[in-house]
């Protein structure tokens, strides 16, 4: 049998559908384990003015209560390897910036005992005005959502050369495009924050070995990445931590951040006992990272027969209260703002904006689900405004072999033309002969007007 192209059943699939696969929460140790619960911020934005866990610590069954002071390295950046500075504390220090932010964690004999201790911790807050609308983040009197300001100031990605506070992509001559255009179509597009909504909530079991090593049974999507985070927070080298990868009960990007691994490990370190932390369904929905919300404004310069000569964008990415992977998402977004089309003149501008909500994080299509929405809404609107066929506008402006993307990447095998033709045929749409005959080879012949040949062949930025 030929292995490549074979319709083999999913490896380990039978175990998943018959309930035999072991997930992290199914793991039982002979010595048992303690259970963790977290004290989370009840406010969107506040200063912590006092913290007293003495009553909580004296409750029955409580083994440890940890705060930021117990974490060997409390602030560690997920994108440290890219030179992006760290901003997010594992446990809040003297302020909270989003509802649900962890402040302290308890290890106890049962989840009930741990929760009782959490409820007995006495905290006083001084509430501050929160910021929720990214469009108001740039106002002179906007509330401050982050100690760096209301938007990421470090797009250079290198500490010694922080670079600009925005991501820019520019190619060609947008002034020419706006001048030459018959019509300029402008719209605003707002994809929502959504949940990963995995069936398995965030969960971790941290087991200290007699040797001093920390073993973490993790539901992470990226075990080496997560092992690096745990080791960094514990201040140990990579052989001080072993992450055991388990079946993942739904990830979709939401388990790239090891939300539960590190706090469970710090509790295990402190108690010298295994500790399991499993988030409730409510915590999973309200306290885990979301897909980011986006605010995108686009103006496209087009000819009356549907050639897109230029595009200008302004994008605001809702990072929430801390950066996590938002600089990555914002950059990836701008690399793809032309969609599946070759637009010779562009200026894309994007900011990663901080607000007082749960930090947004990776999710399926990270950074580009939003560009597909802006690019396709615009093409459909352009076709309507100009009374043109939306299939033909796409085929006209399609990426072709040898075309240059806005960031100067030369395309090797772009399939805009084949996928549009295939879907048109299946949908029963009859394309005009010159569009039916199109291929992904470089543009020639009837469809491309002479005066645009030079534009479409444009390489790097002017």
């Amino acid at each position: 049998m030929k292995a490549i192209g074979a319709r083999l059943p999913r490896y380990e699939g039978a175990g998943h559908v018959t309930g035999q696969t072991l997930f992290v929460d199914d793991i039982r140790l002979p010595q048992g384990n303690l259970w963790a619960k977290a004290l989370r911020s009840p406010h969107h934005s506040a200063r912590i003015t006092s913290f007293d866990a003495s009553k909580a610590a004296s409750l029955p069954g409580v083994h440890a209560i940890i705060t930021h002071a117990d974490v060997p390295r409390n602030v560690f950046g997920h994108l440290a390897f890219l030179g992006v500075p760290a901003d997010e504390p594992l446990l809040a220090v003297d302020e909270v910036r989003y509802l649900g932010q962890p402040i302290a964690a308890v290890a106890a004999d049962s989840e009930e005992a741990a929760q009782a201790a959490v409820d007995a911790i006495e905290v006083e807050y001084e509430e501050r005005e929160p910021l929720f609308d990214m469009r108001k983040a740039f106002d002179p009197d906007a509330p401050k959502a982050h100690h760096w300001g209301n938007w990421l100031p470090y797009f250079g990605g290198e500490l010694e050369n922080a670079g600009p506070d925005r991501r820019r992509i520019r190619k060609g001559d947008l002034e020419w495009a706006f001048e030459k255009a018959d019509t300029i179509v402008k719209g605003v597009y707002r994809p929502a924050a959504i949940e990963h909504a995995p069936l398995e909530t965030q969960v971790a079991l941290a087991v200290p070995e007699p040797s001093g090593r920390m073993v973490v049974y993790s539901c992470t999507q990226a075990m080496h990445f997560s092992a690096g985070h745990v080791a960094a927070h514990l201040g140990v080298p990579l052989n001080g931590v072993k992450l055991v990868s388990s079946a993942v009960g739904g990830g979709f990007g939401g388990k790239v951040d090891s939300s539960s691994d590190t706090i469970a490990a710090v509790l295990a370190l402190k108690t010298e006992r295994p500790v399991k932390w499993r988030w409730t369904r409510e915590e999973e929905f309200l306290c885990s990272g979301t897909r980011a919300a986006w605010h995108i404004e686009v103006a496209d310069a087009v000819t009356k027969d549907g050639w897109i000569l230029g595009r200008k964008t302004l994008t605001l990415h809702d990072a929430g209260a801390y950066l996590r992977h938002s600089s990555y998402a914002t950059t990836k977004h701008t690399f793809h703002c032309a969609g599946a089309y070759t637009i010779p003149n562009v200026s894309f501008l994007a900011f990663a904006v901080f607000t007082n909500r749960v930090p947004s994080t990776a999710m399926r299509g990270f950074g580009v689900t939003s560009t597909s929405f802006l690019a396709e809404m615009q093409v459909n609107r352009i076709a309507k405004v100009l009374d043109l066929d939306p299939y033909e506008v796409r085929l006209k402006n399609a990426n072709r072999i040898g075309d240059t993307m806005p960031n100067t990447v030369v395309l090797k095998d772009p399939s805009t033309v084949p996928v549009v033709q295939a879907i048109a045929e299946h949908a029963g749409i009859e394309l005009a002969p010159e569009y039916k005959a199109m291929t992904w080879e470089p543009r020639t012949g009837a469809v491309l007007p002479e005066w645009l040949v030079e534009q479409q062949a444009k390489g790097g930025q002017d």
Binding site: D141, E175, G253, R281, P390, P418
Partner: protein
């Protein structure tokens, strides 16, 4: 009150691998002394099917039956580095890493078999777990016998091979233009989505009757798993198009759903017909021509459904999700004659009330400027 049918199109592209690349995967393959194959990999299978695909890639690259191959993603000690299961990178980047490791194991098996058969390894090949001379299949030895001999008769060798695949990190050379020094991804995949819907103009409810989903994924290592990705992605796309919002009244943080009863993820009752067209234009660098199809499968439905709504009832809804409330408000504006874009010279300006220019302070640091520069 009436129901209106509509149809809309979206076309998408999506990169394989992390943006700006540099996302490394290593793998290690070793043979047991009966020739069975252990793949030690750091690629966590989150339901994307990477273990299944990697097993098929290793079996093909090594020349053994698929059921000889075990893919083990145990822990960070046993398994070499993998950057992670994200960025649609596991079949392409992880797949290349296990393929390279399998090719090295194959090479070593051929060298040992060549000595045992006294034939130049270049004249040997492996199929279905048997090493044989090209053109003379009667001269053969099984991979099991080669592994056994290597372990117990020829000095105790562990037949193994490592493989690494990485596209080098693409540096942004110029912050003003975003010019980069190399490809920022491993490949690009393309797709298209057509939504066929019905809109109820009294309730604002939108029902999708059929999605047509076309994707060029290079080459399908396992077509069943590809179909699963496309179907799962399409349903997620339906959720983000019509139903889901962490903050139903965004930007307000109020009224968040905290369970599956109040957070509206799609369920079986929402499921439309899904027609999947799988195009295969083999990629230059992917294992056996494969490209990614994991994440992109939920990117087309938002815009294709929004286009279909316009086709059905003539209104643009540009905030996701496309809820009954938003559709009804758009229909009300249309009925009042207030839905037309503002036309200023050659500018056709939609959605002005949503703009940062309308919501932010007059002296804010950032505005959308109509100046092209």
């Amino acid at each position: 009150m009436a129901r209106h049918k509509g149809r809309g199109l979206a076309t998408i592209e999506y990169p394989t691998g992390m943006n700006q690349s540099g996302d490394l995967t290593q793998s290690w393959i070793k043979l047991k002394h009966d020739g069975r194959v252990d793949v030690l990999s750091g690629t966590v299978d989150i339901g994307n099917g990477s273990k299944t695909a990697h097993r098929q890639i290793v079996a093909a690259a090594l020349g053994v039956p698929v059921d000889w191959v075990t893919v083990d993603v145990s822990d960070t000690d046993a398994s070499p580095w993998d950057t992670g299961t994200f960025a649609s990178r596991c079949t392409f980047i992880g797949g290349n890493a296990v393929k390279i490791a399998a090719e090295r194991v194959r090479e070593r098996v051929l060298e040992i078999a060549g000595k045992m058969l006294e034939i130049d390894p270049a004249d040997l090949t492996i199929e279905e777990g048997v090493v044989f001379a090209r053109g003379a299949p009667e001269t053969n030895i099984s991979v099991s016998d080669v592994a056994h001999a290597a372990t117990w008769q020829l000095g105790g060798e562990l037949i193994s091979g490592t493989g690494t695949f990485v596209k080098p990190f693409a540096k942004i050379l110029d912050q003003e233009t975003g010019r980069i020094d190399r490809d920022p991804h491993a490949a690009l995949s393309y797709g298209a989505s057509v939504a066929e819907i019905e809109v109820d103009d009294e309730t604002g409810e939108v029902r999708v009757e059929r999605f047509i989903e076309a994707y060029d994924i290079g080459y399908a290592i396992n077509p069943t798993i590809v179909e699963g990705q496309i179907q799962g992605g399409t349903v997620m796309g339906l959720g983000l198009a019509l139903l889901e919002a962490s903050y139903p009244y965004y930007p307000s943080p109020e009224h968040r759903g905290a369970d599956f009863a109040s957070y509206m993820a799609p369920s079986m009752v929402d499921l439309p017909q899904i027609d999947f067209l799988c195009l295969e234009n083999p990629s230059v660098e992917g294992p056996f021509g494969a490209k990614a199809c994991g994440e992109m499968a939920n990117n087309g439905q938002g815009p294709s459904v929004a286009a279909a709504i316009h086709d059905a009832v003539g209104v643009w809804v540009t905030e996701l999700p496309l809820t009954p409330e938003r559709v009804l408000r758009a229909l009300e504006k249309k009925a009042a004659g207030e839905d037309a874009p503002r036309v200023d010279g050659k500018w056709v300006i939609f959605d002005e009330e949503l703009s940062i220019n309308a919501v932010g302070a007059p002296d804010a640091d950032v505005k959308f400027t109509f100046d092209p520069f």
